[in-house]
């Protein structure tokens, strides 16, 4: 009996310690700056220090923050893109053109596409659009076939995919959507060494050997657009709940890094949570934040799950917040239905067309932008009706700015949403 008691006591003590540790991890406690720099990205100070403790204009300690890139993307947001007005997937911002005459040649070419994954609705929508673009270019005799390998979100798989393409693919051109930036760099360099054109899109790599790198403006622009919208529509001292999918992915971290900085400067209290895009978790988090005190704004690093966030406000019987989601149709429809104050930022889904159109230009020997920055314009309340109408009948997981309206198979292919 006594041994049992003492065992009990020890474990009780340990449990108490753990609980105390959990409770004293106060948001106002921030790690010293020197420590943050060496920590793993996921452990950096993600909670806002109280605004009054932070000198204005000082960025919070977020190691994903890159001032130069932030400034560049800040400026690119207001640049009027060049290119055909009704074809955003061919527009470009601040382009420096590169000569591709060395690749000019006749005949239909074989494209080898190393895809990171089709594991989320955004990538699935883009993948469908890309395949319809492929059909159009096959009909035009530009492309003979596209061999695709899906790395299923795995770096090693994608490296193997690229090496397979290099050695046995019989490829005329490589199109790569990297799974991650650093890990994919050597494989992309090996593809470049074949002397055949390489096109990288979406996430980047740390080499400029590809002929072109195609991407929308970027994560910081997303963070700036959304944070500015919330700041404009809220009073200083308001509370914003930031719903983030997962840590450690640069395109997502940059969105938050920019927003976090702007919230701190504007005196907005922002609390971030990781949701895994699971609506159950989103709803529970919002419910808890509502029980803790008022929530004035909701910021999301991707719009998947925005409906669950708004429903949490409905179920708690409180007023809707100001919210930034994405151009995903579930969110746009809920926005329309509720009349909530909202913004639909975009990570231009039409970029999935551009790589194949770049293939066409490269083999025609036309010059193309070396870094092909596509426009990235959020959907505002004034354009909401227009985008809902244009995407009438599309499934909820579809993205409004998918840019495939002039492709064969529109709209049935996107409505049926069968993965190619």
């Amino acid at each position: 009996m006594r041994r049992r008691t003492t065992q009990v006591a020890v474990v009780m003590g340990a449990a108490a310690l753990l609980l105390t540790a959990a409770c004293t991890t106060d948001p106002t406690v921030t790690p010293p700056p020197s420590e943050t720099a060496t920590q793993e990205p996921t452990e950096s100070a993600s909670e806002e220090p109280a605004p009054e403790e932070e000198p204005s204009g000082e960025a919070p300690a977020n190691e994903w923050f890159d001032q130069a890139l932030y400034d560049e993307q800040y400026a690119q947001r207001s640049v009027t893109p060049e290119g055909p007005a009704d074809e955003p997937y061919l527009q470009h911002i601040d382009a420096e053109f590169v000569d591709t005459s060395e690749f000019a040649s006749e005949g239909a070419k074989k494209v080898c596409f190393a895809n990171a994954s089709i594991s989320n609705p955004w990538r699935q929508t883009g993948w469908i659009t890309m395949n319809q673009q492929l059909k159009a270019l096959q009909d035009a005799g530009v492309i003979s076939e596209m061999e695709t390998r899906d790395a299923q979100d795995n770096d090693d798989t994608q490296i193997a995919d690229i090496d397979y393409f290099i050695s046995e693919g019989g490829c005329d051109v490589f199109v790569i959507s990297p799974n991650s930036t650093a890990a994919m760099t050597p494989a992309v360099e090996r593809a470049c060494e074949t002397g055949k054109p390489v096109i990288v899109f979406d996430r980047g790599v740390q080499t400029d050997c590809p002929v072109t790198f195609i991407h929308p403006i970027g994560g910081f622009a997303w963070g700036i657009d959304t944070a500015e919208f919330l700041i404009d529509n809220l009073e200083p001292g308001s509370k914003v709940v930031a719903l983030r999918i997962l840590p450690g992915v640069d395109v997502l971290e940059q969105r938050w890094a920019a927003a976090e900085k702007l919230f701190a400067e504007a005196g907005i209290e922002a609390v971030d949570h990781f949701t895994g895009a699971d609506p159950v978790k989103i709803k529970s988090i919002i419910s808890d934040e509502l029980a803790r005190g008022g929530v004035d704004g909701v910021w999301m690093d991707a719009g998947d799950g925005a409906v669950a966030a708004l429903e949490a406000f409905e179920d708690a019987g409180v007023d809707y917040p100001v919210i930034t989601g994405e151009d995903e149709l579930s969110f746009l429809r809920k926005w329309k239905e509720t009349g909530v104050t909202a913004l639909g930022p975009v990570y231009s889904n039409f970029q999935w067309r551009t790589p194949l159109l770049a293939v066409q230009k490269i083999f025609a020997g036309e010059e193309i932008p070396g870094e092909w920055v596509l426009p990235q314009v959020p959907i505002t309340v004034d354009e909401l009706d227009e985008y809902l109408e244009r995407n009438d009948g599309m499934p909820d997981g579809h993205y409004a700015k998918f840019g495939g309206e002039n492709l064969p198979g529109f709209p049935e292919i996107w409505q049926e949403r069968v993965m190619p």
């Binding site: 006594r2 041994r3 049992r4 008691t5 003492t6 065992q7 009990v8 006591a9 020890v10 474990v11 009780m12 003590g13 340990a14 449990a15 753990l18 609980l19 540790a21 959990a22 409770c23 991890t25 948001p27 452990e43 100070a45 993600s46 909670e47 089709i118 594991s119 989320n120 609705p121 699935q124 929508t125 840590p247 609390v271 971030d272 949570h273 990781f274 895994g276 895009a277 699971d278 609506p279 159950v280 989103i282 709803k283 529970s284 419910s287 808890d288 029980a291 803790r292 998947d304 409906v307 669950a308 429903e311 179920d315 708690a316 579930s330 499934p395 909820d396 997981g397 949403r417 993965m419």
Partner: protein, 363 residues
């Protein structure tokens, strides 16, 4: 008299009841941080949120206590959620037929799991892992990864709605009533001979077989209960959160954690279903506490994990002590080594505690 009072106190903190103690500690901590949690409306909202995971944990209890695992629960929840979204669509009148289809599908999945485990002799860990992948792949193939959107509100009311303006309780969600009904049913079943057989089979298959139990049917029944509970949870989650391919992700591990936290022994043969239920409530309460305490998002999972390990370690103390006894004597002499291990562990724990928290006894 004094001795009996001490016994009562000991009983409260005994490892077997660890989950209840932890639950009380968590709830008190939550109320201290945010007193509004104790309001009836908030408590009911919390209960509504717990219902799906608690039902899944109760289902998993039957599988684990029968000596098996069910890893397919999470993806079955996903499949049912996505399926409900697609089948009901915007037509509320389909609610009842779709519910019947879902129940049939859930039962079928459990049947396949059970038969493959018992007749094909494939370990349930592998069978249900395969089922998990098959279901996930099926969902992806069917939906193209994006669900069709939320079904008609009639269907969602089951998990989202309830009776409003109830005296004293303010709001009574349907899902909480369903949870209580299922708990009552499960308690009744575990007291029936058929229910007790799960524990018997999990404790010692050979004995149960000699006693005349049909092992394959007992285990298959457990898998079917588990799959049906995942189906019910799926129905509730469609209402609570909506249709999304990530709903249900990780539920199998949440359920297993809840069950183990509740003092149910992995490998079967021991455990109380109310413990599994309490384990589920603990996990959800821990999530709430971390939200209320404002623990930074980046270290939250670690804090959660450490607390769960500590709690399970605590509840396992009692089991370790007893394992030195002859109950699990094995022919290869495994029980010879056991007392030594146990002795070491007990000594390690024994000393500091005696000096630290029981000075009177030591003196």
């Amino acid at each position: 008299m004094r001795r009996s009072a001490r016994e009562v106190a000991l009983d409260l903190v005994s490892p077997q009841r660890a989950v209840f103690l932890l639950l009380v500690v968590l709830l008190v901590a939550i109320v201290v941080i945010n007193p509004t949690f104790a309001e009836p409306g908030q408590l009911m909202r919390f209960a509504q949120r717990v219902a799906p995971v608690a039902i899944v944990a109760m289902g998993q209890y039957f599988v684990i206590v029968s000596g098996e695992f069910d890893l397919s629960m999470g993806s079955l929840v996903t499949a049912q959620v996505v399926g409900a979204g697609a089948l009901v669509g915007q037509d509320g009148s389909r609610t009842v037929p779709v519910l019947l289809v879902m129940i049939a599908f859930g039962a079928l999945v459990g049947l396949v799991n059970g038969l493959a485990t018992t007749f094909l002799r494939v370990p349930s860990f592998i069978v249900t892992l395969g089922m998990m992948l098959a279901l996930l792949g099926g969902v992806l193939y069917w939906t193209g990864g994006a669900a069709t959107g939320n079904p008609a509100d009639e269907f969602r009311q089951i998990g989202r709605g309830g009776w409003h303006d109830v005296p004293l309780l303010d709001f009574v969600p349907y899902s909480v009533v369903l949870l209580l009904a299922l708990l009552a049913l499960a308690l009744w079943y575990t007291r029936r001979p058929a229910g007790r057989l799960h524990v018997a089979v999990g404790d010692n298959v050979a004995t149960a077989r000699y006693a005349g139990a049909r092992i394959w049917w007992v285990k298959t029944r457990a898998f079917m209960i588990s799959s049906l509970s995942a189906t019910v949870a799926g129905v509730l989650l469609v209402g609570y959160a909506g249709v999304h391919p990530s709903v249900g992700r990780g539920y199998e591990f949440t359920a297993i954690t809840a069950v183990v936290l509740g003092g149910v022994v992995l490998g079967g043969g021991r455990g109380w279903i109310v413990g599994a239920l309490a384990g589920a409530v603990v996990l959800e309460a821990l999530f709430v506490l971390l939200n209320y305490a404002g623990v930074p998002s980046t270290i939250r999972s670690s804090v959660q994990g450490v607390i769960i390990i500590a709690a399970v370690a605590y509840s396992a103390l009692d089991f370790r002590r007893r394992s030195s006894g002859p109950t699990h004597a094995s022919p290869d002499g495994g029980d010879v080594a056991a007392p030594t291990q146990d002795g070491d562990g007990a000594e390690l724990i024994h000393n500091p505690a005696t000096s630290g928290t029981q000075p009177k006894e030591k003196a």
